[in-house]
Amino acid sequence: MCGIVGLLIKNPAMRDELGELMLPMLIGMTERGPDSAGLAVFGDRISKGKVKFNLFATSADFDWNSFEKAFDSHFGSIAELTIKGRHAVLSTTVIWESVRDWLVHSYRRELTILCVGSSMDIYKDIGTPGQVAERYGFKNLHGSHVVGHTRMATESAVTPQHAHPFTAGHDFCLVHNGSLSNPNSIRRKLEPLGIHFDTDNDTEAACRYLEWRLREGDTLEQAVQSGFEEQDGFYTFLMGTENKLALVRDAFACKPAVVAENDDYVAISSEFRSLARLPDIKNARLFEPAPEELYVWTI
């Protein structure tokens, strides 16, 4: 199964309430995805010349203080670290490839890189959506848009790394309701191009495929179109970029989605019951996205 939620706030005055508005949507999808949950939140861009990494510690005992010292002594530059339990945001002026290589080389077992970029943060973990939301304080998040997911695993393990959203490149994420039958052939196509996979999850294959197409110069429309040819299976995909939410369903459209839009927001969910508590939902324009059509909203 799995549940998808997305919210893009059009009215800047409401951006401080992003977490509060989104939380009932995510918790409303608990029955569709009780084993893990996650979200990508897009907020203010960090200052120019900096990059941020979202990191997840394999163990709750991970020593962030020692990590910070190790970073400072390795790069001779101070790491700015914001820690929430096993999750941390590392902001730095050091060139991002060097930081990534150092993290992979020195902390392969201890840390997972959740995302790299300048405006996106990723939180994902195992547990019910309510538990995960509580653990990372989803209620207090603010920003322009959010891409959320509740998971009921059907094809790979239940671990924080297998939870959605998946990310690739910078400030790009994807969540998925459905299942792909050819993730391994997509992997075999991408790995020789130097594209590294973190898990054996089918959604990661779609995420890396689409991000690769975008990096090759495709527009979002072209990337999704080529995805129709390449990805075999059932899917509703919700994608987030620095300034966009994008939604697409496969040709058979057997995975649901509902959109509600008004002057203040665009809200997306697998089912209407997740949208029922949004302000002024009664007067929002409601529609079901058509198969093989790409819907894009820009902040």
Binding site: A253, C254, P256, V258, E271, F272, R273, S274, L275, A276, R277, L286, F287, E288, A290, P291
Partner: protein, 221 residues
Amino acid sequence: MYGQFSDMNQYLHHNLDKSNVSNIRIIHPDGAHSIAVGLDVPVNIEIEGHAGYFCAGMNKQANVTINGNVGWSVAENIMSGMVRVKGYASECAGASGHGGTLIIERDASLRCGISMKGVDIIVGGSVGNFSAFMAQDGHLVVCGDAGDGLGDSIYEAIIYVRGKIKSLGADARIEPLTDEDHKVLAKLLALAGFKHDTKEFKRVASARQLYHWNADANQEY
């Protein structure tokens, strides 16, 4: 009364036929699933807002009106009575319905009337892809357009479409309306309250080429 949806369905199943209640309003449905499923009482039910999946499924006798949209599988396996959706219906509306009437005033999504077995479905707007797939009996009236694969592998159900048909499914074909068709269609449109001339509709029915195995057909795949 206030409470959980399971309490409400419990009341509708076990207490309603012993009472004199003939009209019920359900407020703040908020997209909940399985509202008023499995009714077997001649009662009028109004649902004020959007309902979730399986609304009024397996309905017998009851007259259910939804003043909003419905999620997947509204009136799934309906046996008798009437279900009217004032808004839009998601996928699989009226799936496998054996009897009774389902009216959708706006559009119905994909797979409307899939495997219908005697229900009459009247849609004021358009229907999505794969509608009336393997439809066995009953009528599907579409006042708007129909999507891809309409009536694929259809048996003896009859489809009437007023607008464009994107594509027909295997063994479905367009036929002229008979006098009997005009009478049946006029009655169904009147029941739904849709004012269209029956002459504007096309009839889609089975070519019956899939009924028997054709041993002479090219069997190479």
